[in-house]
């Protein structure tokens, strides 16, 4: 199979906005095979000092990774880098949107360019729950 089409190329300008990826979560997405966890049980969450069940962090971050996969294709799968911070918990019924903006482009080796993007996940209330930088590779 040939390489997949991607959105980001060497010609993509700094400041380009990545296509956002949105999802509304539901507590059923954190079922954990019937185990009571901080992600699906009020008492388990409160015992750990949380105000209630919280979404699984990597499942929320996956919105960013889906965006990166769509934008870079195989340049995300091999050569992709992720550095994110979980700033605040996301509720198990929250609506979240991953967004990103191209931040920089630097040559990497002879025939590739690393494209760095500011990325974040914001909630319906506009709070940034996850922030960070991800990058992928594109051909020169």
């Amino acid at each position: 199979m040939a390489s997949v089409n991607t959105i980001i190329t060497n010609d993509t300008p700094i400041g380009f906005e990545l296509p956002p990826i949105a999802r509304r979560f539901d507590i059923s997405m954190f079922a954990a095979g019937g185990m009571k966890t901080i992600h699906n049980d009020e008492d388990a969450a409160r015992a750990e000092g949380l105000d209630g069940p919280v979404a699984v962090g990597p499942q929320v971050a996956a919105l960013i990774f889906r965006m990166m996969g769509m934008c870079f294709g195989e340049g995300w799968i091999v050569g992709g880098r992720n550095a994110i911070t979980f700033r605040r918990p996301v509720g198990v019924y929250d609506y979240c949107i991953a967004r990103g903006v191209v931040l920089s482009k630097e040559p990497e080796g002879d025939d590739e360019v690393r494209v760095e993007c500011n990325v974040w996940v914001e909630t319906e209330a506009g709070e940034k729950a996850i922030v960070g930088i991800c990058s992928g590779l594109v051909a020169v």
Binding site: E48, D51, R66, G69, I77, V78, N82
Partner: protein
Amino acid sequence: MANKNTAKVRLAEDSFGKRAEFDDIKVGAPLEPMEWVVTDKDIEKQCRIDEDYNECYVLGSAYGTRVAPPQIQYRPPRWMLTRTFNVRGVFYKWEFESFKAIKPGKKIMITGKIVDKWIKNDREYIKFEAIGHDETREKVFFTRRTHVLDMVERTAPREGSGIDSGHKPEKI
């Protein structure tokens, strides 16, 4: 979320025994290594969990086969942490780099260690790293993560038993 929580104790134990304490976790301590083989079923489940059906994860890729979403590597290092230290806590920072595609049926050997720990805002943080190599000893992925041991401040007493443990079934 529900009303503001006023819990003022850090849990002392859960169904897997005593919770690891900050002083138990030494910088440089190795995490229990593991061998990991991703299956087609694992990839399908990861796609379903993340609603991410990129054609590379479903139909095939330039690497000769379908490959796993890079974030599938989240779980094994977390299992390794929990095998070594009984930690619940919450995720704070996540770094990773993908060097090779994760293919179904290929064995990956993962090693890791605690690389740092500190106290900030009356909470305890640990940082650990893990690296996965394939059978040709080439790097497949690297990850570095920061974990908060408890949401409740460290000056709160340790008592009581938790419902949730960091221990989870070792499957995607």
